[in-house]
Structure formats: C-alpha cells, structure tokens
C-alpha cells in the first residue's frame, strides 16, 4: 500500500499521486447531532492496529476521494472504492 494504490478509475498508481486525508470511519454527524457527536467526529480516532478505512485523494489522477481498506501493520490493501459510491451505497441501505 505504501507504494502503490490501485485506483478504481485510473489503475495502479504510486503513492506520490495521492494526498492522504485520514481516517474514513468517522462520519460527519447531522447538523442537529449533539456536541459530543461533533467532538468525536472531528477529534476522536479509533486508531486500531490492523484493518482500517482511510481516505486517499487521487490528486494527480481522477481527483476522486477513494476509501482504501487496508491493514496498517502489514500494509496489505483489501480494497479501494470511490468514496462517493460508498457513500451512496451506504445511503441506500
């Protein structure tokens, strides 16, 4: 993972083409959610050792935000999905 990411739109690309935004697990709360929920969204990170979801922005490619599912200990990548597609799929559920 640290070297190459296979972008669902552009194919296999080097890390240099991406900008990493951070954990993709926290979801932006609704505007009316409690303060605590907003605090957790912005500041609290689960930070597990192992499988995580992370936003990678393909800035030098398709400029899409990708959700990379990977292991942060072994650096194995399990999947790369367009964030909007994932978001829409989540909304449909």
């Amino acid at each position: 993972m640290a070297s190459l990411i296979t972008c669902p739109h552009c194919g296999t690309r080097p890390k240099e083409e991406f900008s990493i935004r951070g954990a993709a697990a926290p979801k932006r709360p609704s505007p009316t959610a409690k303060d605590e929920a907003w605090h957790r969204y912005v500041y609290v990170r689960d930070n597990p050792k192992g499988r995580i979801l992370e936003y990678w922005h393909h800035v030098a490619g398709c400029r899409r935000f990708l959700v990379v599912e990977r292991d942060n200990l072994t650096h194995e990548v399990f999947g790369v999905t367009d964030a909007a597609e994932l978001e829409r799929a989540g909304a449909d559920e």
Partner: protein, 416 residues
C-alpha cells in the same frame, strides 16, 4: 556502581571483567504503587523522577520489547525549545533546562551537545512567523536570535546560497539547542531508576487493564496479572491500543516517520539545521553519521518502516539544501510509530478513570521532551496535580476549544 574516569581506569586494569549490569532483570512483584506502561524514554524518565523527586520507588515499568525499543532508540536526537505557543514554550524550555543538568544528575554521559540550531527561513512570511516565535521565546527568557543570510552563511557556508529554488533569507537560531545520544537517554534513566528500586520489566506486554468499581486495580500481562494503585500510560505509538483496554477515547492517530543516517563522514555539519522550504532537518552525530529526516509518510501505520517516495523526497530536500551531500551515501533508513495528536501537541493528564494517567500525543517531537515529560508526568502521578508547565496539555482541550495548534493546520493529524 558509579561511573567515572576512575572507574574506567580501575576496571581496565582488571580486564573490564568486573563491570556490573546497568540494571537488574527482576521478576514482577504481585503489586506496585505505580505501574508505568512503556519502557521507552518517557516511561523510564517518569519512573526515574517518581523515585528521585517524589520518593515513590515501588514502581514497575512494563516494556513489551527491550528497554528503549521504541522511538527513544529510533529518532534524530534533537533537543530544542523553540516553540511558539504558550502551551508549549515553557514546557520545552523546562525540558531543555533538565537536559542541561541531566548527565551529572543520572551519572551517565548521554552526550548532550548544545551545538545550536538554525531554523532557516526563505520568505518574508516565514521570517515574520519566526520573529513572532523568537520574540515569544525571549519573553520567556529562552535564547533566540534572528540571523540574516550572511550570518547564516558564516555558520554554515556549505548550504545552498547561490543556486537555490527557495533562497535562504536567514534563520531563527537557538544556541542552546542541540543533540543527545538517544539510546543513552533510555539507558541512563533506566539505570538511574533501577538503582533507586524501580523494577524494569522487559518482554512483558500489557494485554488488559483490570478495573473494579471504576478504578484500575492492575494489568494483565504476558507475565501474569500485576496489581497497582496507579496506572500510568506512556505507550507512544501504541497509546490507542493500550487506551482501548480502559475504554479511553483518544485524539490520536499512529503514523510512521522515517529517519536516516549516512555513512560516517568527517565532521561537516556543526549545527542542527532545518530547511524552511520543506521539512528536512539534519545534524551530524559524534560518530560522523549525518542524521536526518523530513516529513511523515502521511498514512496511518503501525509498521516501523516507510516508503520509497518519502525517502526520495527527503533526499531531494537534502541535496537542495546542501548540494555537497550529493556524492555522500545514505546508510540506513528506519521508521518509528508516532502518536500524532489532533493538534500536534501532547497530552499529560488525568483520564476519566481516577487512578489512570495518560502521557501521549508526542507526534514526532517526543525525544526532546523526554525529561520534562517524565518530570511532569511523575509530578501528576505522585501529587495528583498538574505541573504548571504542562497545564495546557489537557485531554479535554479539544472539546473545550483550547487546542495547542503550533502549525495551525487544524484537526488533521498528518498535517502537524
């Protein structure tokens, strides 16, 4: 066993056969007053000061690997106190003062070398930001000088003054900044703590935190249950993992930072230098290796290794800053796990659990903080009250809106 020139002389005459171990290898006792999780620099310093300054010696330091196997043995050895914000500046200055007296304090030569640090600036905006920082330092009595281009050139004539993409305009200079032999810090604190009765227990991984009635009663470890009155976490990159055992919600994300050493070279770089047009920083060890690094790899990682793109980027910045490096060779790269906090500043605080104490969030600046972190954490644990220089380093500052955002980059840990 006290170390001195005399002890070296005496031992040499007997073939160096009579040296005693630097520390014991004790079996864990069933119960301690204080257990510190993490036998790195901060954990060992905490134990040392608990024993020495606060008379608490029934202490165990639990380390899952060997002593000093974390970032204290894997950093670029820089010490400094050139911080901008009120939440940081006095704390790091306190740390620098402790460094200045440390070796005689713990009878171990950690080679504290106050060779001076140049923070280069390359634009008017950067100069203004450094001036603001330097004035803030001076207000607190910390040494700071603003050097112009020619003054920098006199100190470091080998920097790229003539063909730079981002010309050097000057530097913020802290004369008292410098380097320390990193391993020796862990060993010196460990030896000092051990001599005062602290049990340093290596190869003992904490696997659970046992609580009763809302209080910690001890820890489960790979070497069995060990009870304690107070539990202190100094687990650096593994803070979230250990914190989860006590259901702590933490503003921490673990990242990998690489560092590098060159082949041994005759001394050429006499200061610590940071590149203002990038993140590159460099110094030269007393053995001759150039020790340097740049930015983190940007993704969450618990693997102590980095990627090639970051390696290349580091070298690009290095050669851009010091053209003469081009033909020198890099010997080794390594990676450390950084407990990046959400504002780039650390946490030394109590937790929602009364007898559980937290020390984390050092990002990639933990080494220089080791003495003050240990001292303040020991103060907090022993007296249950915050040392005044660490009073801003609270866990609830994020909720309350009092972040200590030295870089001004907001709640994205990989930008700090």
């Amino acid at each position: 066993m006290r170390y001195s020139a005399y002890s070296i002389f005496k031992q040499a005459l007997s073939g160096n056969r009579m040296w005693k171990p630097a520390w014991r290898e004790p079996q864990p006792k069933p119960h301690y007053d204080v257990i510190i999780v993490g036998g790195g620099g901060h954990g060992l310093a905490t134990a040392y000061y608990l024993a020495k300054e606060f008379g608490i010696t029934n202490v165990a330091v639990l380390e899952k690997g060997y002593l000093g196997s974390g970032n204290v043995g894997r950093n670029t050895t820089i010490i400094r106190s050139n911080y901008l914000l009120e939440g940081n500046n006095p704390f790091y200055e306190f740390s620098l003062k402790l460094w200045e007296g440390l070796e005689r304090d713990f009878n171990y030569n950690a080679m504290v070398s106050q060779r001076g640090m140049l923070n280069l600036f390359h634009s008017d905006g950067q100069r203004d930001a450094y001036a603001r920082k330097g004035n803030g330092m001076r207000l607190h009595g910390v040494d700071a000088e603003l050097l112009d281009r020619e003054q920098v050139r006199r100190k470091a004539p080998y920097l790229n003054f003539d063909h730079a993409r981002f010309p050097i305009m000057g530097a913020l200079y802290q004369k008292r900044a410098g380097t320390v032999r990193h391993d020796a810090v862990a060993w010196g604190y460990g030896r000092g703590a051990d001599a005062r009765g602290v049990d340093l227990i290596q190869h003992c991984e904490v696997t659970g935190i046992r609580r009763e009635n809302g209080l910690v009663v001890g820890v489960e470890t790979t070497r069995g249950f060990i009870g304690c009155n107070k539990l202190a976490l100094a687990a650096a990159g593994n803070t979230s993992t250990v914190g989860r055992m006590a259901d702590l919600e933490l503003p921490i994300e673990s990242h990998v930072l690489q560092a590098f050493v060159s082949e041994g070279l005759k001394p050429v770089v006499d200061h610590v230098i940071t590149y203002g047009a990038g993140h590159f920083y460099i110094s030269q060890s007393d053995k001759g290796g150039l020790v340097f690094g740049a930015e983190i790899d940007f993704y969450s990682s618990y693997a102590q290794r980095g990627n090639l793109a970051t390696v290349e980027h580091t070298m690009e910045e290095g050669v851009s800053l010091i053209p003469g490096l081009s033909r020198a060779k890099v010997l080794r790269s390594w990676g450390g796990v950084m407990d990046m906090s959400m504002d780039g500043s650390p946490i030394i605080d109590r937790t929602p659990i009364d007898n559980l104490y937290l020390n984390c969030g050092w990002c990639y600046g933990g080494f220089k903080a080791t003495p003050a972190s240990g001292f303040c954490f020991a103060h907090l644990i022993a007296k249950n009250e915050t040392h005044h220089v660490s009073r801003f380093m609270r866990l609830d500052r994020f909720e309350r809106g009092y972040t200590i955002d030295e870089a001004g980059r907001g709640p994205q840990p990989n930008l700090h």
